[in-house]
Subunit: 526 residues, 2 copies
């Protein structure tokens, strides 16, 4: 039986501020630094490893964080979650995204259905549909094969699948497994859909409409926008569209779609990449096998998240260190810095995952908490960021904890040796250099050229960004955010903060406003 | 004669914390809110207006901020800057980017040259080159016209021009002025260049190599990468490449380029979009006239930045309010939220502009400051962000000031009325609704559904995102960041914080490392 309690009720949490702070600068210098790099490293799935040598921790702090994990029952709470307890108490829902990629515990039966079987059946159905498209068994009005797939969705139906597609697009090209190009329409701004529609071969395009409820304003608007464009081109929308939705949504049994694949209320939008929300478009783009490899990487990482000892559990440890940085060291933001161009939209996905899950001020019982919760998350790929906002990270007045990601090999297999090193080596040399520059800094007689150091970072290192590695990376952050939600005693699986804006926007469109809202609406000529 | 002094030396700054704080929630409710929307609004160039009704200010605080502007001599410092004083004291350079788009004050003669004439000559040269390409007077080896232009550059040579190109691409398509498609290669990750090269018609592509110094590692590496690819395709790199650089750089007089256009040391990378760093690629993509219209918008905004009264100067006032939020109210981050898909990379450009300019801990004399300086900047387009990180903005434990941007009309001219409103109306209704939801919040019996409000925001509103509006928007933020640098007494025009990483990366590549740096290099197989 688990006990849900606030972070500041934990004895182990009260100990943390009393422990001597770690000076990263000193710890990472000389032989001590080399030893930390070897010692403070945990294996992850997909050939990845989580290296936290440059974080502001030592054995004492890690021991205290272990006690905190135990006292806050992180392992037990995860167990309750994957065994199907109603963890999303606000909406009275189970939280079952782990079941989309594996079985971690007991069978979970809900609504009379084994949920693992349900998700797996949906994955297979989407995979088989994709295979038929690839084999030319599902074709357009003229009997031509489809070459492009366009996802229509927003938030969790967009950011995760988009980040994953972009992360594997060049890998798939290099490995001969890119079956269809993918595009995404998300914004209600009509210029978004217009731009995508102009860039594709419309008669040879399939559209995947993704909305769990079947009521998302942006998505339904864009669906109609696209259907109008299809009709205007003399095409039959019903021959170009499929739906990913819940079985109870109005879209589920409509004849407007070639096919429908299902998730349910137990899969939150931002956790839905490994459900058929990601599965339909990714199977169409890359083939069912590649999507299965992605899921296998995620499932392996989930298994690691079950390890009781936080010092052997990379997802739990990352969560604990993050809470230490946020609540004890007082850092308000975190930067995600992948040294891989393919991961260029991965920070935007993590931004949603983290900020929408843990950007909350009341605990799971609706009581205000008296400590800070989820940080602001931002990031861009290295080395681009180095020539942009790293100035502030190195010499600004605030300290920003950093999460690097790096790989030993590139994806496309195209590289040149220029001035004695390959581009990949230059890329990797830069991430290694940055970690040390942030950690140790450098004194200079000119204070404007001095670097204070003591900027903590961790790095996830892999051989190559493969489907397995990407799955592991995604699951790592999902699990990290989940464990942090447990520590802050939040419900990480609802998002009541998005409701008020929706209500007010409807009022504006109905012209039922007064005061400042009316004044803004007039200025915007609505 | 201006006197440079620290923010906390200003008497007017000491007054600010003593003033009664404004409760946005109260001020923005009812009739008072409607009045503020009308009153707290300043015209900008390009048909834009800056509306700060939902900021945590009132007439008292604005009066105090005006005094601060006067005491800190913001107007005089700007005047010194555009008249050519050496404002970038660290690097002993003038700061002349305003001259790339207009003459705000005295003639500035440096190195025996009138700088306005010099920049204008370079703009015209790039424009004439572009016109020759468009007219088919400059063609490839087979006599074919060029259809694609690819910028090779990083940081300021990438983010600004990229954001601007994307902002105008669909507008240009709709207005029949898209002459060539543009692509960008920035990252040293070889997958970046490989991906771009695979997506274009190489024989019909021009490459613009942009590096002021001619020594940027990433850019030179990608240049060689591209040249190798051109040669491998049987093409002559010298017939496909042009350079944008300084006259003293090794690239300036090389026969490896079809043409070279010049900026100089008085144009910082992140302020170079209006120089030929932006001018070459944007003239090729859209034609010289469109780039000139963009510059005209920026020049008009610059003129507004000269207005002595901060309450009539949108750039200066935005700067003052930002410093009030950062230093008096204590908010560590700022979100930029354009309700325009075309501005999807504009926040990334502002991230560099702001964080690289003012992410500093020592003043312009090299002395440590005892107050916080530049905030973390992040953002994504609305409505996408609403379905992502807005949860934290509404209900998180930290307050994040918000900068909205919205337009009355879309760019592509494609729109449908769906459920009684167009997509553009839905988009605009959402931004109006969000401002009010953030400002006023909503009480609910269920604390999980309560919104505390008091989240301050401003909005820049325009008719349409045209070249003029975009120029004004860019100049607004450049000038805002400049004025904030004056307030914090920083040198906003150097970036010493990027140096240490470069030095260490070279050591890694030369295998001249030990300790932790060696250990990381080994892990990354360098």
């Amino acid at each position: 039986m688990v006990t849900w309690k606030n972070l500041d009720e934990a004895q182990a949490y009260k100990v943390l501020p009393t422990l001597k702070k770690v000076e990263v600068k000193t710890e990472m210098a000389g032989q001590s630094g080399a030893e930390r790099v070897g010692k403070y490293c945990l294996p992850m799935a997909g050939g990845l490893s989580y290296n936290f040598a440059a974080k502001a921790v030592n054995d004492d702090i890690l021991a205290a964080l272990s006690k905190l994990a135990e006292e806050m029952q992180l392992g037990e709470k995860f167990e309750a979650l994957y065994n199907g307890e109603v963890i999303n108490t606000g909406e009275k829902r189970r939280v079952l995204h782990h079941l989309t990629r594996g079985q971690l515990g007991n069978d979970v039966v809900a609504d009379g259905v084994n949920k693992r079987t349900f998700y797996e059946d949906q994955r297979k159905a989407a995979g088989e549909f994709a295979a038929k498209v690839h084999r030319g068994e599902i074709v357009n009005e003229k009997g031509e094969t489809f070459t492009t797939v366009v996802q229509i969705g927003i938030g969790g139906s967009d950011l995760g699948p988009r980040a994953i597609y972009l992360a594997l697009e060049n890998w798939a090209k290099a490995n001969g497994t890119l079956k269809m190009q993918a595009r995404f329409i998300s914004n209600v701004d009509p210029d978004d859909a217009a731009s995508v529609l102009k860039s594709i071969d419309l008669p040879r395009s399939l559209f995947v409409l993704v909305s769990k409820s079947g009521t998302t304003l942006e998505t339904l608007t864009n669906e109609t926008f696209v259907k109008n464009a299809l009709r205007a081109a003399g095409l039959d929308p019903a021959k170009h569209m499929l739906a990913v939705t819940s079985e109870t949504s109005p879209l589920a049994s409509s004849s407007d779609y070639l096919a429908a694949f299902f998730m349910d209320d137990y899969i939150g939008g931002r956790y839905s990449s490994s459900s058929c929300v990601g599965g339909a478009i990714l199977s169409l783009a890359f083939g069912e096998e590649i999507f299965a490899r992605f899921l296998a990487g995620a499932a392996e990482e989930d298994k690691l998240a079950k390890i009781a000892d936080p010092l052997k559990n990379p997802d739990m440890l990352d969560a604990l260190i993050g809470v230490y940085e946020r609540n004890v060291l007082g850092y308000p933001t975190t930067a995600v810095l992948p040294y891989s161009q393919a991961l260029n939209r991965f920070p935007a996905h993590l931004q949603q995952l983290d900020m929408e899950s843990n950007g909350k001020s009341v605990n799971r019982f609706g009581q205000p908490v008296s400590y800070v919760t989820g940080p602001v998350i931002f990031g861009e790929p290295g080395t681009n960021g180095q020539h942009s906002f790293y100035q502030l990270l190195h010499q600004g007045t605030d300290i920003v904890p950093l999460q690097f990601v790096g790989f030993r090999a590139n994806q496309a297999g195209m590289d040149d040796t220029i001035q004695g090193s390959t581009s990949q080596q230059k890329l990797s040399a830069n991430v290694a250099a940055q970690i040390m520059a942030f950690a140790c800094g450098k004194e200079d007689a000119d204070p404007n050229k001095s670097f204070a150091g003591n900027r903590p970072s961790s790095i996830i290192i892999g051989e190559q960004l493969t489907p397995e590695a990407l799955g592991a990376l995604l699951a790592h952050f999902e699990n990290k955010v989940m464990f942090q939600g447990f520590l802050w005693n939040l419900n990480s699986f609802d998002q009541e903060g998005v409701q008020l804006g929706k209500v007010l926007a409807k009022r504006v469109l109905a012209h039922e406003t007064d005061g400042a809202l009316r004044a803004y609406s007039d200025l915007l000529a609505i």
